[in-house]
Point group: C2
Chain length 413, copies 2
């Protein structure tokens, strides 16, 4: 009995794992469609890419050339091995963590394929189907994609202008008998809101997590991109019960896929074996290239990046002030890439989007996409704007268009 | 109530996911200890690294330099995006797949972090806890590490000198009511045995899998390293119900982590979203470097690689012939890196190993490590030798030492 092609494909698709629906849709498909359909004149404030002019390709090219010379000198450098990652790179990252108040040694650090892989690894280590996870509402949508694949229950902790509302989270946990396994938070220049958690609240959060025996996953991709003053120290500096996820994606370039995790005591060895199981060992060419590049140029490079993004943030805040109709409000980011906008009452950001694109040539990401299920009616008036990629004049023009779109939508109500 | 540091770590470790034991031990730890304790004069026939002199670092350095120039010309090339992978790389891989008899287009191919990640992705897509998986006995131990993490039941299909024994697998499946979700096989120059499945058996295997509605995962890392004649066509060339995993790890270098999967119809989009969830997108620097390098040099490079490994295989087979005591037998690989040795009756390869290392300065991997649970009493007399990394004289000396170790062990019985 031979099974026909369509029949077999159908049979196999019916036998997929229970987690597979997490891989059947991506919110980015909708975004890509929107952008593709929008035409080149549309100003897209959607994605979280760094500014193209801040990609240090010459420094990376030199470092990469040096890397291949080093491999030529000792080809062992490109063999299998070291799931823990290049020791010298881990030393360098440990040293850099001191700027976040974190004391770490090479043994605490595992290089990962961006911080995305670190989040996935921590989820894989902790989560059974049905376990609960605390996420901020709103939060980074790539983390939601990860947690969805572990078939979790979400506890959505509200975010205000000082980040995750710890008192409200405490009350939510008080109402439960079974505690969540982990709390995922972006306390510094949060994605998508741009807000930062002050030190006192950080202390309260780690205290709460410790009391309820919940692991904190601290995602900190934007910490080096502060504008006015250094951000508060990392949660990880306050407590060992924090898995800190770092990355060079925003400071060097996204697609070098170079991140790391500083894991709690007792977790590091398991994460290294997980790395071995997942993809054997981290890319030794890129680990060595980053090691060759960073000590020479990154700190100086960051001075210029901060200045560029600060100017762009200022342009966006000024543009919002100038062009938004009454009833619109927005966050005041002190670093990072994002401003979170709340539309006047009666408007809906998802409904507004095609109208804004087609009639006014401006696009953003709807706020609801940053919640579990990519849907959250309470957040229907919110949207995320990224200022990282556009020069000031284009930001100003984009805010003019957005303001006009909102005003027009208000009139047609 | 503040929880103390040790207390909390203990509490968190008690809350790990059910899959976490898969990340608590690695068989490579035992191997590393063995090698570290052995001293530099020990000849280690253990790992599956390519020969250091076959790492084409100059070609890769040139390609890498060109890559960073291309990024400089258009920094968008290093932004986030394209979870499906670089289209031109996928075209190139599709073209190269024709040598395996496989018809594919860019849409069928997803670049992955080595074939290891492809195996993990296919498992993640298909497997719920308790599902059954067919593996060859023995098989690649990295694949066992992957499947362990999905909490599977193993069906171990025996391997003879023509690869997976399809008739015996059929009988094993006949005895079951619930079919396994997938069959993991390395039909060409198998790891660890070195044997190759002839065409007729390949046809029988895909027919069996189709009949029972089981996905085949074909791992094919060694196909380009044939010595005498081209290997039979890939399983994937015979049936769409095969997820083919390829890699440049053995032909360029392991730690560039450049592999791919050719997925069945209907799977490709889900795997691309899984890539996005796991690590956002594949390393664009390495994808472009491989694309810049491969068309210019790989086919010519492979001619030299085949010659080098063929000479080493010949040296190992001649050394085995010359030095093994009666009652020892071994496989006859026609390509790849490995010979599978069966010791005389009464010996045990795990027990022999420290004796061989300490007294004779020779090391190998025990055959039992290539079975589920890294333990398989029926295979206690087997071991794997790799000839890929050692020059002929060292292989000859290693076989002399191994023969002496086996003979000495036989005498002390």
């Amino acid at each position: 009995m031979t099974v026909g092609r369509e029949e077999l494909t159908g049979a196999l698709l019916a036998r997929l794992a229970r987690r597979s629906p997490a891989f059947q849709h991506s919110v980015w498909d909708a975004v890509d469609l929107l952008v593709a359909g929008a035409g080149p004149e549309t100003i897209f404030f959607g994605n979280g890419n760094p500014a193209p002019e801040r990609v240090p390709y010459e420094a990376m090219q030199r470092a990469s050339q040096r890397t291949w010379e080093q491999i030529g000198e000792l080809p062992k450098r490109i063999e299998y091995g070291e799931p823990e990652g290049l020791p010298e790179l881990r030393d360098m990252i440990a040293e850099r963590m001191r700027a976040r108040g974190v004391t770490a040694t090479r043994d605490d650090i595992l290089p990962t394929t961006g911080s995305q892989q670190a989040i996935d690894f921590l989820a894989r280590l902790m989560l059974n189907p049905g376990d609960a996870v605390v996420v901020e509402g709103p939060t980074y949508l790539g983390a939601l994609q990860v947690f969805d694949a572990y078939e979790v229950e979400y506890i959505v902790a509200p975010v205000d202008d000082r980040g995750l509302d710890v008192d409200r989270l405490r009350a939510m946990l008080d109402a439960r008998t079974v505690m969540p396994k982990l709390i995922y938070t972006i306390p510094t220049f949060q994605n998508p809101t741009g807000v930062t958690m002050p030190l006192e609240r950080r202390k309260a959060l780690v205290e709460l997590a410790r009391e309820r025996e919940i692991l904190i996953v601290e995602d900190d991709p934007y910490c080096d991109l502060w504008f006015d003053e250094l951000p508060p120290p990392a949660l990880r500096s306050l407590d060992d019960n924090v898995a800190y996820c770092g990355t060079f994606s925003k400071t060097i370039a996204p697609s070098i896929r170079s991140g790391w995790v500083v894991a709690p005591t007792g977790f590091q060895k398991m994460l290294a074996i997980m790395k071995e199981v997942a993809d054997i060992n981290h890319d030794k060419v890129m680990m060595r290239t980053v090691l060759n590049a960073v000590p020479d140029f990154l700190d100086e490079h960051l001075v210029g990046s901060r200045e560029l993004y600060r100017v762009r943030r200022d342009a966006m805040l000024a543009g919002l002030e100038r062009h938004m109709p009454a009833g619109t409000s927005w966050s005041q980011p002190a670093g990072g890439f994002f401003v979170w906008v709340t539309l006047p009452e009666g408007l809906n950001a998802i409904e507004l989007l095609p109208f804004a694109v087609e009639r006014f040539g401006v696009a953003y990401l709807a706020g609801e996409w940053f919640y579990p299920g990519f849907s959250w009616p309470e957040a229907s008036r919110t949207l995320r704007l990224s200022y990282s990629k556009h020069p000031e004049a284009r930001i100003e023009e984009g805010m003019r268009r957005l303001g006009a779109a909102i005003s027009a939508a208000l009139e047609t109500r």
